[in-house]
Amino acid sequence: MLWKKMIRDLKENKGAYLATIIIIVIGLMVFTSFSMVMDNLRLSQQSFYKNQNFADGFIEVQAMPPSEIEKLQDIQGINDVQGRLVKDVKVLFPNRDENVYLRLVSVDPAKKNPINGVQLKQGIPLSNKEMNILIDNKFFEANNLKLNEEIEIIADGKKRALRIIGVGRSPEFIYALRTSSDLYPSPESFGIAYIPFEVMKTLFPERETMNNIVFTLRPGADYDNVKERLKPELKPYGLKSIYPRKDQTSHLLLTQELKGLEATARVLPLLFLSIAGMILYIMLKRMVEQQRGQIGILKAFGYTHKEILSHYMSYALTIGILGGIIGGILGIALSFPFTTLYQTYFNMPGLTSKFSPLYLVLSILLSLGFSLFAGYQGCKGILILQPAEAMRPPAPPIGKKTWLEKITIFWNMLTVQGKMAVRNMSRNKSRSIFIFLGIMFTFSLLGLTWSMNDLSQRMLFDQYEKVETYDVKVSLSNPLNQKKVSRELNHFPGVTRVEAMAEIPVTLKNKWYKKDVVLLGIPEDSTLYNILDKNYNKVDPPKNGLLISERLAKLLGAEVGTKLNVESLMIKDPDKAKQLEVVGVIPQYLGLNAYMDINSLQEFLGQGELATSFMLRMDEESIALLQNEFRKSAAVSGIDDQTERLAQTKELMASFYGMIFILALIGIITGFAIIYNSSVITLSERSHELASMMVLGMTPAEVLSVITFEQWFIGIFAMLAGIPMSQILLIGMSQSISNDVYTMPTNITASSFLIAFFVTAASIWIAQRFAGKKIQKLSLVDVLKSRE
């Protein structure tokens, strides 16, 4: 019989319970899908690393003979060492004028269990005899290549054809970026090719030397110790950099992604389940209070505490189970498209999703746990009720003056309905706090998402439209004399301005902090690369010191005036300690750099007037000509066309907008559910009062205004509180997102607050209209028949 009562009660308040279930479902969807994707990624990462023997350390050198590299094997702590030649080459696809690059990575086909081994997906293994390559599967698919097809590349200024005999992938390029300033892999224009060293060396003038070394460590060996032992051995061969696995780009970004997923999978569901629990708690508590007469009678009949409690808990149970099942199943379903999405970015085997009973069970348990806990908290009042006491009406609500009434001006401005509302708020503090938190949550989530939207746009477009304003950037394979190249480029048809740039890898040190970055030397009067401060004012590259980015300043614990130790393999006398003073800190969202005037930098390095790349302003029509001209040049490593980059970026931003949209939707739904539920609860709790007002002849709209006044009043303050809240969220977000590739700005734009305000207000308004419908259905006669 009680079962029937429950069904009727649930039906009566179906909107409110439905909203609760929806919130649970959203939370669990995030939990299941994110956890599953994370598990999938982690599992395939681990097995891929293990199976393909992923390196623990990476070394870049100028040139080192293989025989010398082999000797490194004997260094204590090193398990295995492998030398390679790694070079980026341009690909000539017929009928395509954009830049396509392949990174040639040499391998030794004879080696057993090689480091960073290539997992062959299709085709046959490499042989030393032929111009054959294995190509990475993303590039293969994106460019519609076929096995045994030949592709043309420019190596050392000469056109060469390489035959694709197989398709494969390596743990080194799970997330394949060409330069560290790229944000996403772009398999159409950048891929990896694995080629036998014996073949590759014939393509380049270096002949018998290698420029890249990978190594694995013995179990228990300490990376830093090994590094120190390696350094002196490598110095004679032009050591450029040496870094551990954790700094390897692909690994770093995959790890970051995993961390982000993990954080989301933990925090968001917790948040949503807490909100749902809160709603459930309030609803059940109210129901128990309202039905105390019924409870008293049941007790008087001889129902035990347990039986009555389990009746009320069955509401929580039903909701918990329903929410758990629906959320779990939808989450698992969602993990499939999610995994597919990750497949497009992360190139790993075994990255598939399958139905997971474990997560379904976990979802149900989580949902049940929260619902039952909240339900019990709401219902436990039953236990202390004595039957006789229960049948007596609860102590009447006591009218009281509030502190707000002391502010006479404010108080006199209010209508009587307003006064009622204000007193209600203080009468029902926990409810008011709940509404407050709910609106604050909605507002700050919306503020956060819109800010992220604004900021990511700024991050990218500022960089391309305000900072790097050149049309084309020509990068050199090796530093060359600035004047000579400038002169040559200046004579090229269509070129109206040429500016040199020096990109120098340096290690900056301050106290115990240290960071490897690229120091950019920029001409003093540059118009093609504008360093901007917070207010978008142009800052000249300093002659007497360094400008560093905010994030770099933080990482180095440095501020204006700090003297940084600068080490670089490009300094003439690398062993001599050199210092540069920080003369300014600027925001930088893409990349992590230090800046200096190019002439002063050249002086500092003491290697003459070297430049590593050139920025050009030129006619659009001549760009193709320039690319054709320099495509074959061995001296040029890349020609970047700014419009092409901008277009690519815009395309990639689309997926980001999807995420923003989902977050915003979550915010709106939550806000809606909270307002709707609290309206409905208030309605049923105060049905007597509200019906009395209608008897007096107030219209449903006037009656509703008592409730809405309360919510708007709380809402205004909640939204105000949401402003710092979204700032905090954004800072947290920025800290978890930012890395050496991009830094998320943390200044929220006024327009996002405006949008957050309007959207929050709209969802409050709509929720109130829905609740208002219930007022119209209120039967005056029935309500007033009984005593309050």
Partner: protein, 234 residues
């Protein structure tokens, strides 16, 4: 004289699954300006139903009902709200005051929506609660609360005052006080007052007494010499 309320062939039925409950059966009646009527009848005879329909809180299933010339049986929710707002005052057994408004504010709440309200202070004075204006309902006795409820109904300056067992929860003294106010209101302001009661003694103060039985108007008695409330005893 034109009646304030005219009911013709009024029916109210409730459909409870297969059973039809007849709450009111073929009611004909007229209420006039300045008269005080009492409605008597056993429990379940339809008194509240009749009063609720007259007051625009409920609708008849059948028949005609007029407020002066306005056909209430044809009115929609909005028109009924307007009717309640300007022309009807209600007093219930359970006072139904807003718990978090003071006595003054409760009366004011009602007055502010009426087209021709009476001064709030005056109404509180009339019910003898001027000194309690700033008290909340929980700080007042039952009789005092009922008088606030009455002041609230009167402040709208309604043409008809409808009272459903207004003295049901009050002791003798408090009841007499409230009845005096009803009488006074009907006489000095020439308003119509209808009172439902289980207490037959109260019928002595009425100009007319309606007896309801099984949803039908059993008989109507005219009282040529109504007793002043202070002389009623029970």
């Amino acid at each position: 004289m034109q009646p304030i309320i005219t009911a013709k062939n009024l029916w109210k039925t409730y459909q409870m699954g297969e059973v039809t409950v007849v709450a009111l059966k073929d009611i004909h009646l007229k209420l006039y300006e300045g008269e005080l009527v009492v409605i008597l009848g056993p429990s379940g005879s339809g008194k509240s139903t009749l009063l609720n329909i007259i007051g625009g809180m409920d609708k008849a299933s059948n028949g005609e009902l007029y407020y002066r010339d306005t056909p209430l049986h044809k009115a929609d929710d909005k028109q009924l709200t307007f009717y309640r707002r300007n022309d009807v005052g209600f007093v219930f057994q359970f006072y139904n005051l807003m718990p978090n408004l003071t006595a003054y504010e409760n009366v004011y709440l009602s007055a502010q929506i009426s087209q021709s309200p009476l001064p709030v202070e005056e109404m509180l004075e009339k019910v003898g609660l001027s000194d309690r204006a700033n008290h909340f309902p929980s700080q007042l006795s039952g009789g005092q609360q009922q008088r606030v409820a009455l002041a609230r109904a009167l402040a709208k300056n309604p043409a008809i005052l409808l009272c459903d067992e207004p003295t049901g929860a009050l002791d003798f003294q408090a009841s007499i006080q409230v009845l005096k106010l009803f009488k006074d209101f009907s006489e000095t302001y020439r308003k119509t007052v209808a009172i439902i009661t289980h207490n037959a003694a109260i019928a002595q103060i009425a100009n007319r007494v309606f007896y309801l039985k099984d949803g039908m108007l059993d008989k109507v008695e005219r009282n040529e010499n109504p007793l002043p409330p202070e002389r009623v005893t029970w």
